[in-house]
Amino acid sequence: MRDKLPPEPPGSEVTPEKLYLRRREFIKNAGLFAGTAAVVGGGLYLLGMKRTRPMDGFVPDAGVVDQPVAPAQGLFSTDEPRTPYEDITTYNNFYELGLDKNDPARRAHLLKTRPWTVVIDGEVHKPWTVDVDQLISAFPLEERVYRMRCVEAWSMVIPWLGLPLGKLLDRVQPTSFAKYVAFTTLEDPEQLPGQKSPVLDWPYVEGLRLDEARHPLTLLATGLYGKQLPAQNGAPLRLVVPWKYGFKGIKSIVRITLTREQPPTTWNITNKREYGFYANVNPAVDHPRWSQATERRIGETSRRPTLPFNGYADAVAGLYSGMDLKRDF
């Protein structure tokens, strides 16, 4: 500890001859130096390995949707720059396929998205059990360019393809008792290996109030960027509620059930204090551990202010009139 370091010799004192005479020692030390440096650097590198890593030139494979698509317009489209396809499909939260952001893309091939059956039941006059392709072809697909705001304070702009959930609900005819819509993700640990660890209660469940579900902005997405939805983005069918935090957009849906009572929702079960049932994007209500006042748009460096209801306040604020958004967050 207390060994004194000798003062550094001036360069003129370091004679090549000395070095020449001690060359074996020098070579040995150089080798030990390089080896140790490599072990230390490599060790740290490995420790950091399993964190979110960028992927090299990964472009997921997805079928092109060849149906005519109503182009997005007005309320249903933002003209903000779209997030690159590669970012949308490699930076995902989908714990069923792993906890790191790039895990879902790496494991996407494990999820078999066809054949796929969706059950629509509960408080409906016409329950419907249907193959997902039949479901999709029963409605005209629309393109919607929506902002997506994750609860983790990052955001994207995504050109979705899909059908308004309201149209599907009209078809199954909710009874007068129906007050909420409950959604369930596929549960199959073989296809969704994340379900082998109890990090959340499986299967993932989400829910909306019936009026939220019927709102024209609420979309059942089947694709993005004009292509079929990749598995990591929730293929074959996912929910998109653009004025709510991303975790409300439940992925890989197998069941839609109309209920009388407010259904349980996964993140709310996991941590009531941090994740509410409504989860409306609200810069005035912070997450207990971080501010929600600003967000980082993927691809941008500086933060931007977060908008109330993610910029859709004119269209949706009425759904919550008379509610205390601080209490019902």
């Binding site: 390089a34 230390v40 740290l44 590198y45 979110t52 970012d87 941590n271 980082r296 691809g299």
Partner: protein, 205 residues
């Protein structure tokens, strides 16, 4: 303390330890850190700071258990390396993540326990980095200097808490670091007790 001279040891630790930081800087400058490079840089620098700090705290227990002397000789380098990563972590947060928005950062530090804890850990490391030289050991006197540098343990514990509170749900990794820390602490407590008992036995009845 020093048995054989190992002139290459500390330079190797410094060069090897700083190489991931250099790599991160180069990749960051080239925009090769993925969709959310700032988040990636934050995670990496924070993780390395904690890992190296735990490494520096492992030096004495490893020496006690194995009898090797070299761990003691790299302790200072590891400590300074940990401080370097903690500072890089904070600068990434302050400059890149928050855009030097002092009000937002003050709010973070004073109202969000998870940030408060992390910031406190960094503040504890500052005096340790400043007093890491031999001159400071002499100036303070070894016992006082040693007492001061026990703050490294406090900083590491706060680092683990900061990590636990950061993750949304899966606490496996931070708990792992906490477990290693507890093990190291147990070795040192065991050693202290052994010393005390030895002293008690030496006393004439």
């Amino acid at each position: 303390m020093a048995s054989s001279k190992l002139p290459w040891l500390n330079p190797a630790i410094a060069v090897g330890g700083l190489s991931p930081l250099l790599l991160l800087a180069v990749q960051g400058a080239q925009g090769q850190l993925g969709a959310n490079g700032i988040e990636f840089a934050l995670n990496q620098t924070g993780l390395f700071a904690l890992a190296v700090l735990v490494g520096s705290l492992a030096c004495t227990p490893v020496r006690l258990v194995t009898g090797w002397t070299w761990p003691a000789r790299i302790r200072r380098t590891l400590g300074l390396l940990a401080f370097t990563y903690a500072a890089a972590h904070f600068l990434t947060y302050a400059v890149l993540d928050q855009g030097l928005d002092v009000r937002a950062m003050a709010e973070d530090v004073f109202t969000r326990p998870f940030i408060t804890v992390g910031f406190t850990a960094l503040m504890l490391l500052v005096p340790l980095a400043v007093t890491s030289t031999n001159k400071w050991v002499r100036r303070l006197g070894f016992p006082a200097w040693q007492r001061l540098h026990r703050l490294a343990y406090v900083a590491a514990v706060l680092g683990v808490v900061h990590f636990v509170w950061r993750v949304k749900k899966d606490v496996t990794e931070p708990v792992l670091y906490g477990a290693v820390l507890a093990l190291l602490f147990a070795v040192r407590v065991g050693e202290a007790l052994r010393k005390r008992r030895a002293l008690a036995r030496e006393r004439p009845a």
